[in-house]
């Protein structure tokens, strides 16, 4: 028992990590993602959810004061700095973003900002933001949670009620919301989050050039997307990892990055990423990307250093055609398009595995590839793909 007590004290004494134990009633549906099952009916989650508030004092509308209000558990100072920079209340620009999310140091953060309109229990507050951090990618879930928490805060004017709701979410996986009904974690499946974006839009904007994005993602290259509006950026970048559905890896996604040292350091630690920038200056940072996507103009550029490894041939043309055809078909839905792409990807990977099996210790070498006399672009692509899929002999 004391062990347990020791384990649970981190609930309110803070370090960055928090584990909580909660009880699931009835039979459990199979939930994927970060929930594990153990034979006793206890579900464990490494669910790291933190809350902040920020709101300005409206006595001066010119220089509104922005204050940290609440923080549970605690937040490291560098993460705090990054979050402050992301929160639109601290920026000089007047644009107001309702919901923004991003990743920093393998932690996902979801920021909801609300403008306080009618006279409420909160006086002297014009805007406030709630930041929720978690280890998993699920914008819809945390947006819904934040909305409930925001409404609670507005209604009661004090964060204590919010804390209660949040603790119930942590411990029970659900909480009552203002409207009839409740918020249940299990309603928000991570697959739905992955599939929430629209691949068809991407393909309709870029046409055959989508193959460049596909190749870059398959070869784990660094893609940078620029758009002046953060919402468009978030929408576009979250779709890109669906092109490599077999990996289901959204940790490469950094949808909202600023050109600041700590964030760029963190970005450089990842070998391949999809990063979204609002700042147009990023196009000058040739050291940061292999592929640059200028979203408003619809232009994709490949940097000089990556041109050699991203050379494309007949194989790519075929894949490109497949993608475009599948997307243009009005009868097929987004998830079906993704499925088509992933089927083709699996085919290529199966071929690669077959090639690997022929070599000793099932690892591919360049000489082995050369023996098959592929056209040079295909050979190059397969070589780099083998490295990306860790099939290359070292």
């Amino acid at each position: 028992m004391s062990l347990l007590a020791a384990r649970l004290t981190p609930l309110y004494v803070s370090e960055n990590h928090m584990t909580s134990v909660f009880h699931q009633q009835g039979s459990r549906p199979p939930v994927r993602g970060h929930l594990l099952y153990v034979s006793i009916s206890v579900t464990l989650t490494t669910h790291n959810v933190q809350l902040w508030f920020v709101f300005p004092c409206p006595e001066k509308d010119v220089n509104g004061d922005t204050l940290w209000v609440w923080c549970f558990p605690s937040v490291a100072s560098d993460l705090r700095k990054v979050l402050l920079s992301k929160c639109c209340l601290t920026q000089d620009a007047r644009d107001f973003h309702t919901f923004v999310f991003g990743q920093f140091c393998r932690t996902w953060y979801y920021i909801t900002t609300v403008e306080v309109q009618e006279p409420t229990a909160l006086n002297k507050v014009t805007h406030f933001s709630i930041v929720v951090t978690a280890k998993d990618f699920n914008p819809e879930k945390y947006a819904a949670l934040s909305r409930i928490l925001c409404r609670m805060y507005i209604k009661h004017g004090s964060p204590v009620k919010m804390m209660e709701a949040y603790v119930t979410v942590l411990t029970k996986g659900m909480c009552q919301s203002d409207e009839n009904g409740s918020f249940l974690i299990k309603d928000y499946d991570v697959r739905k989050a992955y599939l929430a974006g629209s691949v068809k839009d991407v393909v309709s904007q870029f046409g055959m050039e989508t193959i460049i994005l596909y190749t870059a993602l398959m070869l784990k290259k660094r893609i940078i997307v620029h758009h002046p509006r953060i919402e468009a950026l978030l929408e576009f970048t979250r779709v890109l990892p669906t092109l490599t559905w077999h990996r289901k890896d959204w940790s490469i996604l950094h949808p909202y990055v600023h050109l600041s040292d700590p964030e760029l350091e963190d970005l450089k630690k990842c070998p391949g990423y999809v990063a979204g920038f609002v700042d147009p200056e990023v196009s000058n940072r040739l050291d940061l990307f292999d592929v640059y996507v200028n979203l408003p103009d619809g232009v994709i550029t490949v940097s000089q250093s990556a041109k050699e490894s991203m050379a494309m041939g007949k194989l790519h043309k075929d894949i490109g055609h497949l993608i475009v055809q599948s997307a243009e078909d009005a009868e097929r839905s987004d998830s079906q398009v993704i499925k088509d792409i992933s089927v083709k990807t699996k085919e290529i990977l199966a071929n690669l595995m077959a090639l690997a099996d022929k070599c000793e210790d099932s690892k591919i070498t360049l000489e082995g590839l050369k023996q098959h006399h592929f056209p040079p672009a295909t050979e190059n692509f397969l070589f780099h793909l083998a490295a990306a899929e860790q099939l290359l002999r070292i």
Binding site: M1, L3, L4, A5, R7, L8, L11, Y12, T19, S20, V21, F22, H23, L36, V38, I40, S41, V42, L44, T46, C57, E59, K60, D65, L67, V69, F72, S77, D78, K124, S158, P159, V160, M163, E164, V167, T168, L170, T171, K220, D261, E265, P271, G272, S309, L366, F383, H384, A387, A388, Q390, L392, I394
Partner: protein, 609 residues
């Protein structure tokens, strides 16, 4: 009085007198302090006068007397007009001391403002800002980790520490050779490809280490050169360039000798060109036999020139032995040349193929490196996740035996913790809300004060402007005044002003009188005219009445008719008389006018003649 004293004491402290903090007025100064203060002031004011003066009173009475008189004398020499003597210092009283100190303090040379002396400019401003920032950071005391505030985070937390790892940087001005310009290719490279110093290190945090190392190396090289120059260079009485070139020649000779001695044994009987492996052997031999002479180990300039001479010498050594054998026949020479050419071509092709192999290897390495790093990262993440899972499972397994009970207990614990959290939250909120209100209130006060102060500032500014404008006005008026004063002085002095003023006053008086007379005359004339008018009117009326009366009776009576005729004639004659008088008057006026005109015409007529 207190303020004067404060100023005096402050000035004395600046001069160097050790005045303790709580002496607030002159009367608290002891005799020794007074003597010390006066002596120091005199020293500052006039060093020649003040240096023999002691700063402390000696114990003996006669010595004290002497010191007092010398101090008094010195003060008088400086120009103190008041009464001063040995008694001022030995038996001091407050007002005398105060006036003496005031005099001395005023005599102290004014401190020049520091800022106006120092040069300004962007780099100096930047340097000063850097110095101020470093000073401020050094002034922050070290705190143990638990007590640290966020302001210490940048300088004291372990995150701020990085290991000191330095490698050489390439800077464009390194080749400070004997005045020749670097090659165009080198310049192009330096301009276009060489990354700036802050981008050269592999890790951003080690930029400081690199720069410190580079700077230290350059500094020590410069110092060594200075030392050498001051010790040996000046003795040789050459200019720096000559000294350097002589040193270069000396070193070159030494290198030549060494190479010759190393190359000669193998040069006999071998006419062909050297291959690269022989050259490296040569260099190896040379390096092994280098004497440890401290002159050779001097700064970077000389290592560079050494290297340059190095590459030339082996070529010279190589061609050396082959020269004596050049007296062979022409065909042999040609053959040898062809052989050389062939072997060089082979070498070149070999090098090319090696280069391609290396390029392919590099590419392969890069790709496999990426794969390995990727795998490593994934495995690390997987490891940490697995560790966590294992911990959790272990704990759960420990609880397994008594599953139901433990489950209930867990639930209860969870609920209790949740309640506790909420409780703490509400407590904190209670604590926080008044603090936030206080914060807001203070901010409001602060902003109000800001408004006030900015308003006052603008008022002050406007006042300053007004002052400026009025000073300019005053200056202008003064100038005008000066001008007029000089003009006045320059005017001829013979015509006295009083005469003019007298005349003017007289004229004014005259005019005044004339004006009075004129007004009188005018009023008289008006009266006369009025009388005339009334009389004329009366006359007319009387005549009309009389005329009627008489005419009425004139029809009947003869005498009345005659009187009527006389009346009419009288009236007529009187009218004529009046008319004549009036005409006379008019003519007289005309005469006067014409006379005036004639007077006016006279000068022009005379001038015309």
């Amino acid at each position: 009085m207190e303020e004067v004293d404060k100023i005096l004491i402050h000035a004395l402290k600046q001069v160097g007198t050790e005045v303790s903090e709580d002496t607030a007025s002159v009367k608290h100064l002891t005799g020794e302090l007074i003597v010390e203060a006066v002596a120091r002031c005199i020293r500052v004011i006039d060093p020649g006068l003040g240096s023999p003066l002691p700063t402390s009173l000696p114990p003996g009475m006669s010595a004290r007397f002497r010191v007092g008189t010398s101090l008094a004398q010195a003060c008088q020499d400086i120009g103190y007009k008041g009464e001063i003597g040995y008694q001022t210092f030995l038996y001091s009283n407050e007002p005398e001391i105060r006036s003496l100190l005031m005099f001395l303090v005023e005599k102290l040379p004014r401190e020049r403002a520091e800022a106006s002396d120092q040069p300004t400019g962007k780099s100096v401003v930047l340097q000063r800002a850097v110095a101020a920032a470093i000073k401020a950071q050094l002034a922050v005391p070290w705190l143990p980790p638990n007590c640290r505030l966020p302001l210490h985070a940048e300088t004291q937390s372990p995150v701020a520490l990085h290991c000191f790892h330095a490698q050489p940087l390439s800077l464009p001005h390194c080749s400070k050779g004997p005045g020749k310009d670097p090659l165009r290719e080198v310049q192009d490279y330096q301009r276009e490809i060489l990354p700036p110093v802050t981008a050269q290190p592999s890790h951003h945090a080690s930029v400081v280490a690199y720069i410190l190392e580079q700077h230290a190396a350059e500094l020590s090289a410069a110092q060594e050169w200075d030392n050498e120059w001051n010790s040996q260079g000046l003795l040789s009485r050459l200019t720096p360039q000559e000294y350097r070139s002589r040193k270069l020649i000396r070193l070159r000779k030494r290198v030549e000798e060494q190479l010759h001695s190393a190359a000669l044994p193998s040069a006999e009987g071998d006419f062909g060109p050297r291959s690269t492996s022989d050259l490296s052997d040569l260099l190896q031999a040379f390096r092994g036999s280098t004497p440890s002479d401290h002159i050779l180990a001097k700064g970077s300039n000389f290592t560079h020139t050494q290297k340059f001479t190095f590459t030339q010498q082996p070529a010279a050594a190589v061609t050396g032995p082959s020269v004596p054998a050049g007296h062979q026949s022409e065909s042999d020479v040609q053959l040898r040349q062809q052989e050389e050419q062939l072997s060089l071509q082979q070498q070149f092709q070999h090098l090319c193929s090696e280069f391609e192999e290396l390029a392919a290897d590099m590419k392969h390495m890069r790709v496999t490196n990426a794969q390995v790093l990727d795998e490593l990262k994934q495995r690390e993440l997987g490891n940490s996740e697995n560790e966590e899972k294992m911990q959790l499972k272990k704990k759960t397994i420990d609880l397994l035996p008594d599953a139901d009970n433990n489950l209930l207990k867990l639930q209860a614990l969870v609920e209790a913790s949740a309640n506790r959290v909420v409780n703490l939250a509400s407590q904190w909120e209670k604590h926080r809300a008044p603090l936030i209100d206080e914060h807001r209130r203070l901010k409001e006060i602060c902003s109000n004060q800001d408004l006030e102060s900015s308003r006052k500032l603008s008022e002050m500014k406007s006042l300053h402007d007004k002052i400026r404008v009025s000073t300019e006005e005053a200056k202008r008026k003064e100038e005008i005044y000066k001008q007029l004063v000089t003009e006045l002085e320059n005017l001829p002095q013979d015509a006295s002003r009083s005469a003019y003023t007298q005349r003017i006053l007289e004229i004014v008086n005259n005019i005044q009188k004339q004006k009075e007379e004129i007004t009188k005359i005018l009023s008289d004339t008006k009266e006369l005219q009025k009388e005339i008018n009334s009389l004329t009117g009366k006359l007319d009326r009387t005549f009309a009445v009389t005329d009627e009366l008489v005419f009425k009776d004139a029809k009947k009576d003869e005498s009345v008719r005659k009187s009527y005729k006389y009346l009419a004639a009288l009236h007529e004659n009187c009218n004529q008389l009046i008319q004549t008088i009036e005409d006379t008057g008019t003519i007289l006026r005309e005469i006067r006018d014409l006379e005036e005109q004639a007077m006016l015409m006279l000068p022009s007529v005379t001038s015309h003649q």
